[in-house]
């Protein structure tokens, strides 16, 4: 699984951080999403999928590569 984020779309809600804190963080200055792990380990995938689905700005895209 490969994650890409669209910083432009991110509204700083932080839902992704709550769903998968190992994979997502937010910048201190403006709250924009920070991707900690672009290719997350197997055990994190369910959480990452949830993070992508709950992001209120559809800023997180997943591909199965």
């Amino acid at each position: 699984m490969k994650i890409t984020v669209d910083e432009d779309k991110c509204c700083g809600a932080g839902s992704c951080v709550l769903a998968a804190p190992e994979v997502f963080d937010q910048r201190d200055e403006d709250g924009v999403v920070v991707l900690l792990e672009a290719e997350p380990a197997q055990h994190l995938r369910a959480a990452v999928r949830e993070a992508a689905d709950v992001c209120p700005a559809a800023a997180i895209a997943l591909s199965e590569a």
């Binding site: 509204c11 709250g31 709950v54």
Partner: protein
């Protein structure tokens, strides 16, 4: 309830799509149908008053998912057809075009529609903003307008005013409150918002409600402005009415479901056996607050959909979120967690309002009820956890 073999979702937008996605993520393999009255694939509304209205985004950028992701959901999308009635006993939705869609479980996610002023429908030059089509129609006229009048001093009105001002149009914002969002945010934050709008050239005509729209003596059918309840007339060649919204429950009137400012649900978001509601249309019993609550914000659409999906699959869990919404106006990004009230005791817990970067804690009788972040999204979330608790 055993796992339903067929799930039908009425309303194919944020809450409807999130319900479908959550069902699949949780392993649901049955049939899934999403019925939506709009022709568009599911798109996001928050950018409509911001990036889309400003022209910074092409409309497609507001789409919530790519075609491939929607296909992978393995759901049937019936778009451009509206739910017209619900037969609760047989769990069947009848549509405008004559379809009869039966299912074992039905999720109501039809959202809300804008409230309008009397006489508005007959006039040109008057807009509301709820759909993508609304945003594009407003934008088209905005580019040629000299003076926009925004009727409504809530979140949507203030955002539209800010975006329109960014396009160089003269903007007047009218409404009954002392400052934009005063009822939601209280004097400190709404005062700062008023300052921000002033500095950026939005003319605030606040403190008097709008009584009705005006048209010229020749009765051309085009709006010329609005009349305040003080009798004063504000002139404009373009008007947006942003006076809040009404739940889309007309089609449920004969269903026997309890309606009252939304679809009334129990703490599981259940309106009747096998029938649930999610998003802006749902008014459910919030067990922690001990009252019925209906939220109109983007994260609730998703989180409530998650709760509904879980309960559909047998979780039997109450939905008890800490409400959250954000708004962007000019360079201000506000994050609002919890239930703020205008009379709450407000204390700044980080940053500095003068620097327009701060987090404030709202309390009643000494107990924290909310957290507001101004250009400090991450910090606001951390304070939320500290002051409001909760798992999210």
């Amino acid at each position: 309830m055993s796992t339903p073999a067929r799930v039908l979702v009425a309303g194919a937008s944020a809450a409807g799509l999130a319900t479908a996605e959550a069902l699949r993520r949780k392993g649901y393999t049955g049939a899934l149908t999403l019925l939506g009255d709009e022709e568009h694939v599911p798109y996001d509304r928050p950018p409509l008053s911001k990036q889309v209205l400003a022209g910074a985004w092409q409309p497609e950028r507001s789409h919530l998912r790519t075609r491939e992701v929607l296909d992978a959901l393995d759901a049937e999308f019936l778009l451009g057809d509206a739910a017209a009635s619900l037969d609760v006993a047989n769990r069947t939705v009848h549509t405008e075009s004559g379809r009869a869609l039966a299912a074992d479980a039905i999720v109501l996610a039809t959202g809300v529609r804008p409230r309008t002023l009397p006489g508005q429908e007959g006039l040109t030059g008057v807009h509301v903003l709820r759909s993508l089509d609304d945003a594009l129609a407003l934008r088209a006229e905005l580019l040629a307008a000299r003076r926009l009048l925004v009727v409504g001093d809530g979140v949507l009105g203030a955002e539209i005013a800010a975006t329109a001002r960014g396009l160089g149009v003269e903007v007047v914002l009218a409404g009954p409150q002392a400052a934009p969002l005063a009822a939601q945010l209280g004097p400190l934050a709404s005062g700062l918002l008023a300052e921000l709008h002033n500095e950026n050239g939005v003319k605030l005509r606040l403190g008097a409600g709008v009584d009705g729209l005006t048209t010229d003596a020749a009765n051309s059918g085009r709006v010329t402005g609005a009349r305040l309840c003080t009798g004063e007339v504000l002139e404009a060649d373009l008007v947006v009415v942003a006076l809040g919204a009404i739940p889309c429950t007309d089609w449920l009137e004969d269903s026997g479901l309890v309606l009252g400012n939304g679809v009334v649900c129990d703490s599981r978001c259940r309106a009747a056996d096998g029938i649930y509601a999610a998003g802006d249309v749902a008014r459910w019993h919030h067990e922690h607050l001990g009252s019925l609550l209906r939220l109109e914000n983007r994260t609730n659409a998703t989180e409530q959909a998650l709760a509904v999906a879980a309960n559909l699959l047998g979780a039997d869990q109450p939905y008890t979120p800490i409400p959250y919404f954000w708004t962007d106006q000019f360079d201000a990004k506000l994050q609002i967690h919890g239930v703020l009230t205008a009379d709450a005791e407000v204390s700044v817990v980080e940053g500095d309002p003068a620097a327009r970067r701060f987090v404030a804690r709202y309390a009643r009788h000494g107990k924290a009820v909310g957290v507001l972040g101004w250009n400090m999204p991450k910090q606001a979330r951390l304070h939320r956890r500290q002051h409001l608790g909760g798992s999210r």
